[in-house]
């Protein structure tokens, strides 16, 4: 019988600063991918949710969680993947958006409510703050980003899609 050695909040705090593998300035907690930690049936159950259904970073994040808790001598850990509720960019904190911008990725402007065929949102260049930008492609280097260029400073940049 394994007893609960530490508080689940403590476990949550230990893993909350694990960086996102694609955008390392942001943690999995900032992104809203880390949902909760419970103690159930002698295991710490960590619930995470993918940004996109096929997010290839999930396995790596799982390994990071197991590795991090192993350092704290906790090995009775299960990582659970959930799709419900569906991840949304609404969960990004303002602080996370700022970190993203400073990293060179234009953060999503507002919520997930992108309507079909609505007029395209204005994306601000993360380098020169110009609103004079153009979309190059809806799809970028990862599932969660699209490609833009700034008409003023001429730099190409990535935009974290509203989702």
């Amino acid at each position: 019988m394994v007893t609960q050695q530490v508080d689940t909040q403590q476990v949550f705090d230990w893993i909350s600063d694990i960086p996102d593998p694609e955008i390392p300035v942001i943690s999995i907690k900032d992104l809203g991918m880390l949902r909760q930690v419970e103690f159930d049936n002698n295991n710490y159950v960590v619930t995470i949710t993918p940004t996109y259904t096929a997010c290839p970073a999930m396995k790596m994040i799982e390994d990071e969680i197991l590795g991090k808790l192993h350092q704290h001598n906790i090995d009775n850990v299960k990582v659970k993947l959930t799709y419900e509720p569906a991840w949304t960019t609404d969960w990004l904190t303002e602080e996370a958006k700022l970190k993203m911008k400073n990293y060179g990725i234009a953060p999503p402007q507002h919520s997930s409510c992108s309507k079909l065929f609505s007029t395209a949102e204005t994306v601000v260049c993360p380098r020169c703050n110009s609103k004079h930008t153009e979309m190059i492609s809806r799809f970028g280097s990862t599932a969660c980003k699209s490609l833009y260029k700034c008409v003023d400073c001429k730099e190409p940049f990535e935009h974290f899609k509203c989702h």
């Binding site: 993918p50 996109y52 259904t53 096929a54 959930t82 569906a86």
Partner: protein, 252 residues
């Protein structure tokens, strides 16, 4: 047919649609007209394969015989696959791929919007993820249809030909049999009758903007609900399943 059997079959159909279209789109990798488009098509392929994984995993759970999503993907022969015939049609030229995307993404947009309200919690959760991705797929397909249709004479002719060539595969999207009907009664499946009208309206709207003609009602191909496929699926599976067939349980 028990409710469990119907749900298993329903999940297989949805999972197979995503898996086979995902495989087809992945064939564009390194072959697209330019790098951004290469990324777009492979991104959509990834979305599809991720959705297939979730749906086939659930199918395996529902069946309850200890199989995994990989067993379902790699160890079923053609007659046990239930993807719509349109998903297995060859990529053709870029216009054919875009026409296929337009037909399927428009269907999926309305389908998954409705499946989000399913009484089956797992299907509803998968649908609420899928719908966000499908919106991007649909905008991509509509943008290209309009750009090519309302483009040069050559691009317009090719886009019109693709829209017309693929039309006969579109009827199957709205077929309902005992699987759908029994799950619909329980609020699990989507009613495809209203979806057909929404689909036609939207396709017409995009084609009009693209200065293209909407094909007329015509003979529609059918068969996939019974596991009857075109010759294309065998070729896809022989490539996709080769490794697991040659080296069962291989891992790396």
């Amino acid at each position: 047919m028990t409710q469990k059997e119907a749900l298993f079959q329903y999940c297989l159909r949805l999972g197979d649609n995503a898996l086979i279209l995902g495989h087809r789109l992945s064939e564009w990798c390194s072959r697209a007209p330019f790098i951004e488009e290469d990324l777009a098509l492979t991104n959509m392929s990834l979305d599809m394969i991720g959705r297939a994984q979730a749906l086939l995993k659930y199918a395996a759970e529902v069946e309850g015989s200890g199989k995994t999503e990989d067993d379902l993907a790699y160890r079923r022969p053609e007659p046990k696959y239930f993807n719509h015939l349109i998903t297995e049609q060859p990529n053709g030229d870029f216009a054919h791929t875009i026409a296929r995307q337009l037909y399927i993404s428009t269907f999926e947009y309305y389908f998954y919007s409705d499946l989000e309200k399913s009484k089956d919690k797992t299907l509803a959760a998968i649908a609420s993820k899928a719908i966000k991705e499908v919106k991007y797929h649909l905008q991509h397909a509509a943008d290209w249809t309009i750009r090519l249709g309302d483009g040069t004479e050559e691009s317009r002719n090719r886009m019109q030909k693709a829209i017309s060539d693929l039309w006969m595969w579109s009827g199957e999207l709205f077929e309902m049999d005992e699987v759908e009907n029994s799950l619909l009664k329980d609020g699990i499946a989507v009613d495809l009758i209203p979806i057909k009208a929404l689909w036609s309206n939207h396709i017409k709207q995009v084609l009009t903007e693209a200065t293209l003609n909407m094909p007329e009602e015509d003979y529609m191909q059918t068969g996939s609900r019974k596991g009857i496929h075109t010759e294309n699926l065998g070729h896809i599976l022989s490539e996709m399943q080769y490794l697991q067939r040659a080296y069962p349980d291989a891992k790396w």
